[in-house]
C-alpha cells in the first residue's frame, strides 16, 4: 500500500434485490487513489461505475442492497495514520461525519442537484456548519470565499441567489465550491460535465483540477466520455459489466490498450487529426445483463476476437502491459493484442462479421 494512498478499495461487491431478481451491480472491484491524482473511471451506463462511487459515499445503502469487500479511507488528518475509516462497514453516523468533510461528491445535473428553493450561499453554509463549529457569519464568509475561488463573479451577491438564477456552468461551479468547502481529501465527480455545453466542459474540468491542486486532494472522475478523460486524468479504470476490465495510466491506456472493450471505446472517439470515417464506429451489441451475466468474460458476447478460453472469467492481472500496474482481463496474447487492435490505421474494435 503506497504511503500516500488516500483511498483503497478491495474487492467490492454490491448487489440489489429487485422485482426482476438480484442485480449484481458491482462484482469485484479494487483500486486505489493517491493524493493529488485524478483517477478516471470510464464505462457505459450499467457498467457499475456510479454504483461503485455512490457506495463509497454510502448513498446506496438500503434494505435491499448487499455489500461485500472493503473501502479504506485513509485521511489521517493528523498525519500519522489516524482517522482511517472502513467505509463499507462503517456505521451511519460515522459515515455521515466524513461525508462532505473528508470525502465529497459532485453530481451530473447541477440544476436538479441543488435545492431549488434554498439560496445557493445557504446551501454551502449548511454543509460547512454540519462539519465545522462556525458561527453564522463565519460560515457565510467561507461560502462567499468558496464561490469566489471557483470564479463566480460578485460572489457575495450571487450567494443570495437561487439555483435557477445561475447558468449551467455557474451552477456546476457552485457545486464544486460546495464540495470543496470543508477541504475534502477525496472528491468524487460523477459525470460532472455530461449535462453541460461542450464549451463549458473544459472550464469545469480545469476548475476541478485547480481545486484538486490547491487542496492536494485525490479526484475520482466518473465518466463515459474518453475525451473528458484525456483532459485531466492521470490513471484510468475501464469498467464493464460491473468489473474493471483494464486499469493503468493514461498514457498506457491510450497508447498501449490491452482490452478489446478499451479498443472499442478508443475507436469510437471522433479524431480531429484523422480523416473522417464513413461511419463513427460503435461497439455492436448491448451491455450485459447484470442479473444474469454471461458465462466467463463479460465482454465475450460482443467481442469479435472471442475464443474458447473466454468461457472462463479472466482475472484482472498484468498480461501484456509495460508496467506492473497496467492490468487487464483478456486472454489474448500480447502479440495478438498488438495486431488485432489496429483497425483501419488506428486503434479500434473490428466489426464482428469481419473478424476471423
Amino acid at each position: 500500500m503506497p504511503a500516500d494512498a488516500l483511498l483503497e478499495v478491495r474487492d467490492l461487491h454490491v448487489s440489489f434485490r429487485t422485482e426482476e431478481g438480484v442485480i449484481q451491480a458491482v462484482d469485484g472491484v479494487s483500486f486505489s487513489l493517491q493524493r493529488g491524482e485524478v483517477l478516471a473511471v470510464v464505462g457505459e451506463s450499467g457498467s457499475g461505475k456510479s454504483v461503485t462511487v455512490g457506495t463509497l459515499m454510502g448513498l446506496t445503502r438500503s434494505p435491499n442492497a448487499k455489500f461485500e469487500g472493503e473501502a479504506w479511507l485513509r485521511t489521517g488528518r493528523d498525519g500519522d495514520g489516524g482517522d482511517d475509516l472502513e467505509l463499507i462497514g462503517a456505521g451511519d453516523e460515522q459515515l455521515r461525519r466524513v461525508r462532505g468533510d473528508q470525502i465529497a461528491m459532485i453530481f451530473q445535473d447541477p440544476m436538479t442537484s441543488l435545492n431549488p428553493v434554498q439560496r445557493v450561499g445557504d446551501q454551502i453554509v449548511e454543509q460547512v456548519q454540519a462539519h465545522r463549529d462556525l458561527g453564522e457569519s463565519e460560515a457565510r464568509n467561507r461560502a462567499v470565499e468558496m464561490l469566489d475561488r471557483v470564479g463566480i463573479p460578485r460572489a457575495a451577491e450571487r450567494a443570495r441567489s437561487y439555483p435557477h438564477e445561475f447558468s449551467g456552468g455557474m451552477r456546476q461551479r457552485a457545486m464544486i465550491a460546495m464540495a470543496f468547502s470543508c477541504e475534502p481529501d477525496v472528491l468524487i465527480a460523477d459525470e460532472p460535465t455530461t449535462a453541460l455545453d461542450v464549451t463549458i466542459q473544459a472550464q469545469i474540468l480545469r476548475q476541478i483540477s485547480e481545486m484538486r491542486e490547491e487542496a492536494n486532494a485525490g479526484v475520482i472522475l466518473v465518466t463515459h466520455d474518453l475525451g473528458v478523460v484525456a483532459e485531466v486524468a492521470d490513471r484510468i479504470a475501464v469498467m464493464y459489466g460491473g468489473q474493471i476490465v483494464e486499469h493503468g495510466t493514461i498514457d498506457e491506456l491510450f497508447y498501449d490498450p490491452q482490452h478489446p472493450y478499451t479498443w472499442g471505446l478508443l475507436g469510437s472517439i471522433a479524431r480531429v487529426d484523422r480523416d473522417r470515417p464513413e461511419r463513427l464506429p460503435a461497439i455492436e451489441g448491448l451491455p450485459p445483463s447484470l442479473s444474469d451475466p454471461p458465462e466467463g468474460c463479460r465482454f465475450r458476447p460482443r467481442c469479435p476476437h472471442a475464443f474458447e478460453a473466454c468461457h472462463r472469467l479472466p482475472a484482472l492481472e498484468r498480461r501484456g502491459g509495460q508496467s506492473p500496474e497496467h492490468v487487464d482481463r483478456c486472454f489474448l496474447s500480447p502479440d495478438e493484442k498488438h495486431s488485432l487492435r489496429e483497425v483501419g490505421g488506428q486503434v479500434g474494435l473490428a466489426a464482428r462479421s469481419t473478424a476471423a
Binding site: F16, R17, T18, E19, E20, I23, A25, S45, G46, S50, V51, G54, L59, T60, R61, S62, P63, N64, A65, L286, P287, S289, L290, S291
Partner: protein
C-alpha cells in the same frame, strides 16, 4: 396500499439499474402508456377485487325492482304505519304505537327494518341507491365529455380561446362546490330549468345530475388542458401537422389517445365525488326531491329520527360508504397503474 416492501425509497440506484435493464437489455414490445397501464392494473389484485365489489353493489342497486317485487313485496313508497308482519310467529306492528319503526328483521320482508311510514328500508335503500349511482355515474360521464372537449380546445388553440376558457373555469372554480350545487339546486327546484331549447321540469332527477356534472367540469378540464398544452409541443404533433392533418384530426387522433390515462384516473375520482356530492345536496334538500329517494335523502330522514331509529341513518350511510370506498380503492389502483412515474419507482 400497493407497495412492494422489497423496494426502497431512498437512493434507488437498484431500481434505476433494473429499469435500465428492462428498457435497454431486453426487447420491449411497443405499448402505448394506456396499454401498459392496463397491464399494470391487471396485476393489482386488490384494486381489481374492490372494482368488482363496486360493480356488484351497482348491480344489486339496479336490481331494486327485482327485490321489491319478489322478496319484499313492496314498492319504495308503499307501506302504512298500521301494517303488521309475522316475526317468530308473533304479529308485530311495523311501526309501534309510539312511532318507533322496527329494526332489521333479516327476513324477506322488512329485511333491514321499516321506516317511520311503514316502508321497507331495504327496498328504499336499493331504489335510492339506484338513483344515487345513476346520477353519480352519468354526471361523471357528462363531466368527462365536456371537460375533455373544453380542455382539448383550450389547450390546442390557445390564444383567446384559451384565455376565455380559463377565465370561465376560474370563475366556476371560485364557488365552493357545495354552495354552487346548493345555489343551482335551490334556484332550479321550484320552476325547473329553461335555457333556450332545453327545458327540464322541477322534480326531475335530471336536474341534480346536470348540476353535479356542470360543477365538476373545471376539476377535470384543467388537468386535461394542462396535458394538452404539454403534449402539443411534442414531435408527433408537429409530424401530424406536417402531414397536413387539420386541428380536429390532431385533437382526436393524436392528442386524445394520449390523454386516455389521465381521463381514466380522473373518471374514477369523479364518480366517487359525484356520488358524495349528490348525497350532500340531497341531504340538504337541494338535490333529489321527494317522492324520489337517494342515499342522501334517506340519511337526511334517518338523522331526523336518529334517537329512536338509528338504523335508518346507519343503513344508507354504510351502503354509501361501502360503495364509495370500493370505488376509491379501485381508483387508487388505477392511479398507481397509470401513473407514468411508477416505472422508475417500481411500486405497483
Amino acid at each position: 396500499m400497493t407497495v412492494d416492501p422489497a423496494t426502497d425509497f431512498s437512493l434507488d440506484l437498484g431500481a434505476e439499474l433494473a429499469a435500465e435493464e428492462e428498457g435497454g437489455g431486453r426487447a420491449t414490445e411497443a405499448s402505448s402508456p394506456f396499454r401498459l397501464g392496463m397491464r399494470r392494473l391487471r396485476r393489482n389484485k386488490t384494486a381489481l377485487a374492490f372494482g368488482a365489489l363496486f360493480i356488484l353493489l351497482v348491480a344489486v342497486s339496479l336490481a331494486a325492482p327485482l327485490w321489491s317485487d319478489h322478496v319484499a313485496h313492496k314498492g319504495p313508497s308503499q307501506g302504512k304505519t298500521t301494517d303488521q308482519i309475522r316475526i317468530d310467529g308473533k304479529l308485530t306492528d311495523v311501526v309501534s304505537v309510539d312511532s318507533i319503526p322496527i329494526g332489521p328483521t333479516w327476513r324477506g320482508e322488512y329485511f333491514l327494518g321499516s321506516d317511520e311510514s311503514g316502508r321497507d328500508v331495504m327496498v328504499r335503500l336499493l331504489y335510492g341507491g339506484r338513483n344515487s349511482l345513476v346520477i353519480g355515474i352519468f354526471a361523471a360521464l357528462i363531466t368527462t365529455i365536456f371537460a375533455v372537449l373544453v380542455g382539448l380546445v383550450a389547450g390546442y388553440f390557445r390564444g383567446w380561446v384559451d384565455a376565455v376558457t380559463r377565465a370561465v373555469l376560474d370563475v366556476m372554480w371560485s364557488f365552493p362546490v357545495i354552495i354552487l350545487g346548493v345555489a343551482l339546486g335551490v334556484a332550479l327546484a321550484l320552476g325547473g330549468l329553461k335555457l333556450g331549447p332545453i327545458s327540464i321540469a322541477s322534480g326531475s332527477k335530471l336536474l341534480p345530475l346536470l348540476i353535479i356534472a356542470f360543477i365538476y367540469i373545471p376539476y377535470m378540464a384543467r388537468p386535461v388542458r394542462g396535458q394538452v398544452l404539454s403534449l402539443r409541443e411534442k414531435e408527433f404533433v408537429e409530424a401530424a401537422r406536417a402531414q397536413g392533418a387539420g386541428p380536429i384530426r390532431i385533437m382526436f387522433s393524436e392528442l386524445l389517445p394520449n390523454l386516455a390515462s389521465t381521463i381514466v384516473v380522473f373518471f374514477t375520482l369523479l364518480v366517487a365525488n359525484a356520488i358524495l356530492l349528490e348525497a350532500a345536496l340531497s341531504f340538504l334538500g337541494a338535490g333529489v326531491q321527494p317522492p324520489e329517494t337517494s342515499w342522501g335523502t334517506l340519511i337526511e330522514s334517518g338523522v331526523e329520527r336518529i334517537v329512536t331509529a338509528p338504523h335508518l341513518t346507519i343503513v344508507p350511510g354504510l351502503m354509501l360508504v361501502a360503495t364509495v370506498l370500493a370505488l376509491n380503492v379501485f381508483g387508487d389502483g388505477v392511479r398507481d397503474a397509470f401513473d407514468p412515474r411508477a416505472k422508475v419507482r417500481m411500486e405497483h
